[in-house]
């Protein structure tokens, strides 16, 4: 089994209300020095067998078509051993 991780983050220029809510809550708990918080999503996808180039290309297509919305989000694909 092999695992591929897709991280999806709101684009820097897009307002992230969830991140702002977390940023507002942290100082109330006594955490200081926080300038910004952005909240994203992490997908862990398990495959049978090895991760081939074809399979990685497929994960990129998954990320483009369903896991992220390119209008508001960026994604990054990485292979976890």
């Amino acid at each position: 089994m092999a695992r591929v991780v897709v991280d999806v983050m709101p684009k820097p220029e897009i307002l992230d209300p969830q991140g702002k809510a977390v940023q507002g809550a942290l100082p109330r708990l006594g955490f200081t020095g926080i300038v910004d918080v952005r909240q994203g999503k992490r997908f862990e996808i398990e495959f049978d067998g090895d991760i081939t180039d074809e399979r990685l290309a497929e994960v990129n297509r998954m990320a483009e078509t369903l896991l992220s919305n390119p209008v508001i989000e960026d994604f990054a694909v990485s292979v976890v051993a």
């Binding site: 709101p10 220029e13 897009i14 307002l15 209300p17 969830q18 702002k20 809510a21 999503k41 369903l66 896991l67 919305n69 209008v71 508001i72």
Partner: protein
Amino acid sequence: MKVGVVTFPGTLDDVDARRAVTAAGAEAVALWHGDHDLKGVDAVVLPGGFSYGDYLRCGAIARFAPVMTEVVAAANAGMPVLGICNGFQILCESHLLPGALIRNEHRKFACLDQRLRIENASTAWTNQYQSGQEVTIVLKNGEGSFVADEATLDMLEGEGRVVARYLGNPNGSQRDIAGITNERGNVVGLMPHPEHAIEDLCGPGADGLGFFTSVLSALVG
């Protein structure tokens, strides 16, 4: 004239939308998300509420529902399609309309009688209004903030594709955009709910009925 109203798992406003279609003088036809079938309708409404739990992003999974294959093909062939609230989100996820809807800027659910200005009175869904006309239509959303990049916003404004604008921005939508249309004017996405404003007895008045009488006029005309 038959106007189909799609029900997704989690849709709330399909019954009101069908009622609005009937009030406008058309035959309302219930469509099911799992069917590859538009049942011979002349126009389609994607109503509000939720769809598939709105997991991932609002409308992201509904976009791939079997019925959406048919809706996208019909829309591209010129059939009038109106997406209200969650329906607007589905139209954006389907790439029938540009931009996206994200969580309200103030992070609170917005529920109010919203003043709007109709900016484009020539679409299939707004031809019974006057350009510049101000109307009051119910708004209820948690993720209604319209966003797009500057070039897309300029394009929408330049081509007259902003259909309605908020008078008093309730959710942080860029350039106060409440609704937009595609190049052809047959596909309209609108965050407020005209189907909840079709009679004086319930809701803020009948200002929303024009969306449904407009499509009849577009189909007959």
